[in-house]
Assembly symmetry: C2
Homo-oligomer: 647 residues x 2
């Protein structure tokens, strides 16, 4: 078959591909990650590239404007070469690279996560991580074994297990595998009968994971990982001192195969699709662990346990379990309660005998990340009614208290992660994260205070709120004619220029149009309706909610006032809202350090009921009413009514 | 290096070996198994071969007589070639082949094993295998799972485990591994939610071993194996109907590396020694299983569980655990209570997910075969005092009742298996198994009524008893001058010709000399003293023993009267002796069919104390007194005293 050389600029990376292979696939082969949210199905229109040289065949797409077409823009996923080509990947189509995000997360978002507890009220404080008894997934204990004699002649393995049981009376069943038994006789004698046993909690029994010579009891480390659909975050934890020694984050490279869980489930059905998705996440987890341990000069062998929290699809892909039936009615995962396995079995590189546990999931669309979040929030331990909201691609909502928990998942779409909007980008350097309009001037504040590249989630919430407050849009989201702002027509919809090309980092206007606003309204409406349906199901009202916990990357930058203004969050006193940041990794860390916490997570998973909104009549009824700013029924948002009347 | 071609006759098998490689090693490479009991150390003198052609270097050995030397006899293990050679392996140096032994075992020895219970008294009957509740190591259960719905949306794995727990309320902890979870979603849907789960008892927890489509609950098979030092015996068992479907036996090919456990432990220290020993036993077990399942037209996948019983060294070698410290003071095995593992982990070929369990051991020299034996005898369940004797290379003795059990191991040597004697052979076709002297005529009865090749264990006990009764030897074992029999000098010791060369199958006289008798006296003395020491330790006397259970291959052919006459067995009423045959495989079978029995085996192992005779002063004192026929103190054997005075 004919081969063509494709060169990607500005990186100047080349690859040879067969005729018929699309440019998105070609880019992947050179490790260039082009933004796309549909998995290369030609739907999302995010993988725009500019053809600089060469012949090609491309499918027409409504996602490419006439002006763009003239400039040589094509969708990478819909374009195949007919000759060697040179392709420019515009910055807005590139995924920001790991370092930028890591730094950003370190500086702004993750920083607050180590000690969220201190910031919040006493009752919740008591309920969170710190109250769980220290008892990591794997513990190292130093043993001085009595020397064997003619009269004390039990087998080496039996002697070791006996001593552990003597020291840990709470252990019921203890196991040791063949590979450890094989090493034991020599090890015991060479170490003068002084060894360190690593014991792990494995599926309700205790396993001798590892045996080392001498006293290694203080050298025990674990990793807590949040496997997000978009971002993967890992903490390195000293399992003995309970200190977090470092944190790293990376994009989830699975985005190359589709931005949301549904497109990844579909991709998993392709040939080798599941394998590719699995390796993408595992490789990233391994890279994160590796760089974490290098930073503090440890070795992989020192790491004996990993706990991951992710949504149900992410957890399936991590373990290489086909998630096919998650998206087929009646939406059943292969497993909610994952067994504790050897990390190596999933390809996770730590000590070859180290363990891997996953936070249990509730159902197909409420996963271990939410269980971790509820655990980290402590809402399952307090009498007051709390609401937990994870603002991600899936907006998961949990309502409940120490007696009961009820959850649902709303397909919020990628809006809050910068997706699905013309100028939307992820929360990377140069992303507009806050916007205000003062004296008719649009003022943007970007991450890193750099020239803007686009708008991320919190910025989008802000701009809609500001446009509404300033009556530039009406409550249905339509842009009104207005001489002050740069408003123009774009493919039949009006758009407002927020930042002109000359002031931007991408040499293009940064805009928001009526379609973007419509998308946002659909997203916020879905989440708000989720809250309403849960309240209705529980026979409670909004004012019964005492705490609202906000989790997810959007977290700390989100302006609560703006979120209430647009009807994303219920109209409750601002002091009742608590930003928890990444509760998924926080909950995973808690479980890594305490078996009690892991049991609490299992109790949460067992206790929590799951409401499937796709079949809920009540959801559909309420949803249409929520597709207004802030809501069709303004009386539900008295503070917003006041603002709108005042301005 | 120079290579020589070595051809072994009469098989006419050839092999090329380097200069310096000995003929025993060369024979092994052609799969010719030459008898040897020292592992090629030049000590036992059993690997005699005749050089027909070629030059060689050989070490002199007292084991080769002058006449033999003239005929070209050399020890294979001490001889290296200097040119191409032709070697004749005389029949007495060959190990009988599998088929002969299998047939023999089937016909004579194993036959009685399937239903030993029927033959013995009521109390013991109640106590044996049949009283244990049916509950195999692995059980297949057919499940019709409720179809999932939007409201009944637990994960596939959780649904399956939940249903099993509902059906089996006794299950406390249930686990399912990742590989089964991965297969589950498709399997459940393709089978219409009707599947068969194989659940196994794995280290005090229940594991879902296997999941199959449809109802396979009646298709579940297991194998019970006795890993003897000399012989390996396997039963194929229908785990559902509890029927034994077939049995097979084979030599333990580890004999190529040494006849007793000590020489094998030493061989295991050689380079790749452990690996060779391990593969030797595993290959044999696999061959036995394979031929068993073919006979009844099953496949390996139908076999989900294997239980092995063997002495401590055999069990270590089976699992490829270095047995080094078993023979170093204070004689500590790596493990007595072996974990249940996946059979594949040890190389045992059944269903790839099937389980392998081993009967627990007591200590370095009392192993799982004895625990199985005690279990099969039922002595641990009855009030009466019983004695259990396993007559093998190690003569293990257990004394006790339902309250307590005490054991010791006597290095009886290979006498009872035909080793260590000039004309001794294993219990193969043509072996003299019973001998009587009537009217001054020596009358030999051979296995298969074939021309004699040598004397096996039971024949040796008989001949010594007959020689003593007929006053051809005195009570110290010295051969008296006597004109009636063919008595002659042989290397400073007198010998009696039992069968002349012309009447033998091996063209050589079959004889017994004073050294043979001395060896036998040492063997029987060791076992008898073991019994005495246990009684003394327990503060009991011989007459307190109500049942004497005889286990081991020697079993059914052994003449109890002869054994008492020579002082091997205590002088108790003959009706108190019960032959149990191969209790190792019988006990293993019982455990395969019943977890209750396996628990009983563990109780036996926990309860049984082990007396190390090598450090027992009482043993050494009594032992010298036992080196007489039947004993220095004839008053301990009143019935023998009577016979000797009568004759």
């Amino acid at each position: 078959m004919e081969e063509f050389k494709i060169t990607f600029l500005p990186e100047n990376k080349s690859v040879h591909i067969d005729r018929g292979t699309d440019l998105l696939t070609a880019a992947l082969k050179t490790s260039i990650h082009i933004y796309n949210s549909c998995g290369g199905e030609g739907v999302c229109g995010r993988c725009k590239v500019i053809v600089k040289k060469g012949d090609y065949i491309t499918e027409g797409s409504g996602r490419i404007t006439e002006i763009e077409r003239e400039k040589g823009y094509v969708l990478a996923c819909r374009t195949t070469p007919e000759s060697d080509m040179e392709i420019l990947v515009p910055e807005e189509s590139m995924l920001g690279d790991l370092e930028i995000l890591t730094e950003e997360i370190k500086a702004k978002r993750l920083a607050g996560l180590y000690t969220p507890v201190e910031e919040i009220e006493e009752e919740r404080h008591k309920a969170t991580a710190k109250i769980f008894k220290h008892g990591p997934l794997s513990t190292k204990i130093f043993l001085k074994l009595p020397n064997p004699t003619i009269d004390d002649n039990s087998g080496d393995a039996d002697r070791l297990l006996g001593e552990i049981k003597k020291r840990h009376k709470e252990i019921n069943i203890i196991q040791m595998g063949l590979s450890n038994i094989k090493k034991l006789p020599r090890l015991l004698r060479e170490s003068g009968w002084e060894v360190t046993a690593t014991i792990g909690n494995r599926n309700k029994t205790t396993e001798v994971v590892l045996i080392e010579s001498g006293d290694r009891s203080k050298k025990n480390f674990g990793v807590a990982v949040d496997i997000g659909t978009t971002t993967i975050v890992a903490y390195l934890v000293d399992l003995d001192s309970q200190k977090v020694l470092g944190s790293k984050a990376s994009y989830n490279p699975q985005v190359d195969f589709g931005e949301d869980v549904i497109s990844r489930i579909i991709f998993a059905q392709h040939e080798k699709g599941l394998e590719k998705l699995h390796h993408a996440v595992i490789d990233t987890v391994n890279t994160l662990i590796d760089s974490l341990i290098k930073e503090v000069k440890l070795t992989l062998d020192d790491v004996t346990a990993v706990i991951c929290a992710g949504n149900t699809t992410m957890t399936h892909l991590l373990l290489k379990i086909d998630p096919a039936y998650i998206r087929k009615e009646p939406y059943i995962p292969a497993v909610n309660f994952m067994p504790v396995i050897r990390a190596a079995e999933a390809g996770v590189k730590i000590n070859p005998r180290g363990l891997l546990a996953c936070l249990p999931c509730i159902g197909s669309y409420v996963g271990g990340d939410i269980v971790a979040g509820v655990l980290a929030s402590g809402m399952d331990k307090i009498k007051d009614l709390s609401l937990f909201i994870d603002l991600g691609t899936n907006g998961e909502v949990v309502l409940g208290n120490k007696e009961w928990l009820m959850s649902c998942s709303t397909s919020a779409g990628p809006c809050f992660e910068g997706g699905g909007l013309k100028s939307g980008i992820r929360a990377m350097k140069g992303a507009i994260q806050n916007i205000s309009i003062k004296n008719n001037l649009i003022k943007c504040q970007t991450i890193g205070d750099l020239p803007p590249k686009g708008i991320c989630g919190s910025g989008i919430v802000d701009i809609i709120s500001e446009l509404l407050k300033n009556k530039i849009i009406d409550r249905s989201g339509k842009i009104k004619n207005n001489k002050i702002y740069n408003i123009r027509d774009s493919e039949g919809a009006k758009e407002i220029v927020l930042v002109e090309a000359k002031d931007s980092a991408i040499n293009k206007d940064i805009t928001i149009d009526e379609n973007d606003i419509k998308n946002l309204i659909h997203s916020k409406g879905a989440i708000y309706t989720g809250i309403e349906v849960l309240l209705k199901e529980a026979g409670l009202k909004k004012s019964d909610i005492k705490h609202i916990f906000i989790a997810g990357g959007l977290g700390t930058a989100l302006n609560i006032r703006s979120a209430i203004n647009i009807g994303l969050l219920p109209d409750l006193p601002e002091e009742n809202f608590v930003f928890l940041g990444n509760t998924s990794v926080a909950g995973a860390k808690t479980c890594l350090l305490s078996s009690e916490a892991m049991e609490a997570a299992e109790t949460i998973a067992n206790k929590m009921t799951y409401l499937d909104l796709s079949t809920s009549a009540s959801f559909m009824n309420n949803y249409s009413a929520a597709l207004f700013l802030p809501h069709t029924d303004i009386e539900m948002f008295p503070s917003v009514k006041k603002i709108l009347n005042t301005v």
